[in-house]
Symmetry: C2
């Protein structure tokens, strides 16, 4: 079952002219092709194989889609000449590499000890723990390589800004910091503020960072950039609230990973804190916040971003 009840009429209306399915399909295909062309080549064989296994052929690619949707939203309001399709595609792949490396390390025995990911054996099961550790490390480095090509038309300012955003989203004040709080929170009663802070870092920072990197690739004006930042914050938190809900209401086969893990691990979640109904209502509120931010952006076409926020909240896995 999906995490949250059907959308309100208002939300439906704002989306009715836009069919997200072909848009997603097209951009997913571009992302898959680029990842396959870029990842793991030039690496020693075993390492390259593990890197490609970790990245290719799986995943919802939400983060790349957010990069590309934000990029296109900004381009809808600026001259095409200022934009850079190549930068957006590189940024899309870079955020996915960070996401993929975090999953590889998360799944390891010393962390979540997961053997199943996207229906396949996890990287350390397939390649051994040492190779999984190295593959994760190499994927993180490669994300920054992708953002700093030396033979491309990407302006240095854009390269530097993209590296800055990605490093902050991935690091100790972003994803890695949120994972550390998560680690320290097992069996601990958190307040809603503390839970929100954990999730803002653990998953929100990279989701919001994806939106911001797309905005940078399109040379967003300050007001639009701020609105997209607000969108990213609301959508990013909604993602985690829904994750918490799905951990309770979905089964492992649908999720492609082990369901019920949070409760089994005695981890604080939005469901354990608010109960299921209030968690669902909270996800819906955050969705409305995300839509409101898009409306405030002044950008003429934010339909793909709107559709992605809806997907985040209404997904069933």
């Amino acid at each position: 079952m999906s995490a949250v009840p059907a959308p309100s009429a208002a939300v439906m209306n704002s989306l009715s002219p836009f069919d997200v399915a072909p848009w997603s399909q097209n951009h997913l295909a571009r992302t898959e092709q680029a990842l396959s062309a870029w990842v793991g080549h030039g690496a020693p064989a075993g390492l390259g194989d593990a890197m490609r296994y970790a990245v290719l052929d799986g995943g919802k690619r939400l983060r790349p889609l957010l990069v590309l949707a934000a990029y296109e939203a900004v381009c809808s309001g600026t001259p095409a000449a200022a934009a850079s399709d190549e930068a957006a595609l590189r940024a899309a792949c870079a955020v996915e590499l960070i996401h993929a490396y975090s999953l590889v390390h998360d799944d390891m025995p010393c962390m979540d000890n997961d053997v199943l990911r996207r229906g396949k054996p996890t990287v350390h099961v397939q390649f051994g723990e040492a190779q999984a550790l190295l593959a994760g490390d190499a994927l993180q480095a490669f994300a920054f390589e992708l953002l700093t090509p030396d033979d491309s038309a990407l302006p240095a300012t854009m390269q530097a800004t993209l590296c800055r955003l990605l490093a902050r989203a991935a690091g100790s004040a972003g994803m890695a910091g949120g994972q550390a709080i998560d680690l320290a929170s097992v069996g601990v009663a958190l307040t809603e503020d503390q839970l929100r802070q954990m999730h803002r870092l653990k998953t929100g920072a990279l989701l919001q960072g994806s939106v911001l990197m797309g905005a940078v690739c399109g040379h967003a004006a300050p007001a639009a950039y701020q609105a997209l930042s607000d969108y990213g914050a609301a959508m990013g938190l909604a993602f985690q609230v829904v994750d918490d809900i799905l951990d309770v209401v979905a089964d492992s086969a649908t999720l492609g990973k082990t369901a019920g893990k949070d409760a089994a691990a005695d981890k604080p979640t939005y469901v354990s804190l608010l109960g299921l109904a209030r968690a669902q209502a909270h996800a819906q509120e955050l969705l409305h916040e995300a839509h409101a931010a898009l409306a405030a952006s002044g950008l003429p076409d934010t339909r793909a971003l709107a559709a992605l926020a809806d997907m985040v909240v209404r997904r069933s896995y």
Copy 2:
């Protein structure tokens, strides 16, 4: 005992006007102060502690010293106005963060399973494996944060170039790639070419990258940049040859880590391949190559780089 016999008279003469001890002391102090000011702040408490433990109060800081020495060598031949002390210090700390994270992950049970590093319990012994994994990940991200400050006078071109060099030196075609080859080489007979390739990646890439990043901070001209690149390649390989020698001739107390590990792990080394005497001669040859590259650089003052190469080859730990 030190790894290699005393230097030739020619080498001594070229160094005689320069006392490396106060130079090192001064630059080490700057590096330690900067690392302490920058690392682990703003991170959740447990993670920040592990990051600082991994980085502070230990280590030879060879890589930061190479950055600073290369920077100063280039500045000795260019107008001071073009240079950036702040960039060099950030680059010096960034390469050390990459080195430190690699040690944290290397020491973990699934890799080398070391409990002692610089005479202290390793990070996973002190903080647990999960926190060590995260601390390593966060240190890598933080290296790129340090290179991309948004409130500084560092030109974007320099930020982007430094990120490019660091990502390549750290990733699958650099350090992580070399570690993967190392992993796959246990009990395998390598040719000297294969051994050299492994070491060029595993330790050489980051050592050479340090030199190049320092050169970039000083806006090196192409000819000087190439000469420093050659210096970095020779010195980087010499470092690993000497490491192999010390693993045989030194004891654990002197090394601050477990001696005799390579032989115990049946790992190919320069000593196992060439024998001790020829390995020592090879280190000396590489040292001469490094000095020759400095002489060819056209830079007026490369004494600190020369002294660091000597230290690399003549060190006893």
